[in-house]
Amino acid sequence: MATLRVGLVSPEREIWSGEATMVVAQTIDGQLGILPGHAPVLGVLLDGSVVKVHPADGSPEIVAMVGSGFFSVASDEVSVLAEQAELGGEVDVEAAQQALQQALAGDGGDEQPSVAERRARARLRAAGLEA
């Protein structure tokens, strides 16, 4: 079966790379699932969202939080580039929760959640917590 070659990179380092069967990313318009054979796409990631990768070797799904960035798909190569990126396993849950509290306290009751709040929620979601 065809697989996707996935690279998840931040400016400072490569966070994760390997073979995968499916990648789910969230653009400004909504979630986008990418399977092998997908048409070339260049998409803008929602700042403070979660990217899910299903590795081809059957190991558990990889969840990562991403900040502002984009992803490109071309001939079964998927690269996710984000200025902030963190694997779920590396998230400092307490710090993320604190950041969320701060973001909520600083929010003047706006309709739209602030970027800081979205990022904090994404970090918690990546760590496997409901937020």
Binding site: P11, E12, T27, S68, S72, L81, E83
Partner: protein, 300 residues
């Protein structure tokens, strides 16, 4: 002990302790070069990917339009971003960068433009402040181990100023003076124009995939261009940091070598002084004994 000998011994001691310090600095710098090079390596995938995505985007949309791509001939002010270090002890590293920056500014003035310095690093800041030059912006603490957040800060400020017009305190173009790490032994000062970005027509055999854009090409461009600029600045900061550590290593190595040579010279001088002293003492004793023997022989 003779005064000369004592002084020489003191000098040897002091040079030895200096050599110890410079040797330690040299070893610290050596380990940091490795780390800085690793950081350069680690930043490569992102830089490559963003360049590829941008190339694909630009080559499929011929008539693209973005403020960051536009020449602004009506703006006479040019930003010059000078990347220096926070610390000294690095030989001619900062002097070279500042000399190139000054040459560039002189050239810009000749062309009738007004150069505006933006400076990174304590050494550059004090250099300009000492000469009472006005700095548009200054940043510290990102020359040793630059992180992307600081590159982002610098990039934001520069792109903001680029989009503004002269009257609002903006600039028409942005040049960067930084040091490229060629190898452990060679670092070169480079002058690059960062903005406006130039689109080069390149003919390559590789056919780029025809991307669809999500949500739109314009939105992708709006995100990609500033990110690309920030990634370029990050690259320049990393290169400068690696060059800085290499310069420190070289400066400290030659300082240690010179100190060791000085220790050799002083040791020889000290040995000579010691021998001279002993010879003098012996001749004094012999002379004294002779005089004693003569006077006792004369009295008999």
């Amino acid at each position: 002990m003779g005064a000369q000998l004592r002084q020489l011994r003191r000098q040897i001691r002091s040079v030895k302790s200096t050599a110890k310090i410079t040797r330690a600095q040299e070893m610290i710098a050596t380990s940091r070069i490795v780390k800085a090079q690793q950081a350069v390596e680690a930043s490569k995938p992102y830089a490559d990917q963003i360049t590829r995505a941008l190339t694909a985007l630009v080559s499929h949309h011929v008539g693209i339009d973005h403020p960051l791509l536009k020449e602004q001939p009506e703006d006479r002010r040019s930003a010059v971003l000078v990347i220096t270090s926070d610390r000294g002890f690095c030989g001619a590293y900062n002097a070279n960068v500042i000399r190139e920056a000054e040459a560039l500014m002189a050239l810009l003035r000749e062309q009738g433009r007004e150069p505006v310095p933006y400076v990174i690093g304590n050494k550059g800041i004090t250099w300009y402040k000492f000469r009472n030059r006005e700095l548009a912006a200054e940043w510290q603490g990102l020359s040793d181990r630059p992180d992307f957040a600081s590159a982002e800060r610098v990039g934001r400020r520069l792109t903001e100023d680029f989009i503004k017009t002269d009257a609002e305190g903006g600039v028409g173009e942005i040049h960067v003076v930084y040091t490229e790490f060629v190898s452990m032994l060679t670092q070169q000062v480079q002058v690059r124009r960062l903005l406006p970005l130039e689109i080069e027509e390149a003919t390559s055999d590789v056919v780029l995939p025809a991307y669809e854009f999500e949500p739109s090409a314009q939105a992708a461009l709006d995100l990609l261009l500033p990110n690309y600029v920030e990634s370029r600045i990050f690259h320049m900061l990393l290169q400068s940091a690696a060059s800085f550590h290499a310069s420190v290593r070289r400066a400290m190595k030659s300082a240690t070598d010179n100190a060791n040579e000085l220790i050799g010279v002083y040791s020889r001088m000290a040995n000579q002084a010691r021998q001279a002293e002993i010879t003098q003492e012996i001749s004094e004793i012999v002379g004294g004994a002779d005089a004693l023997a003569e006077s006792s022989a004369g009295s008999e």
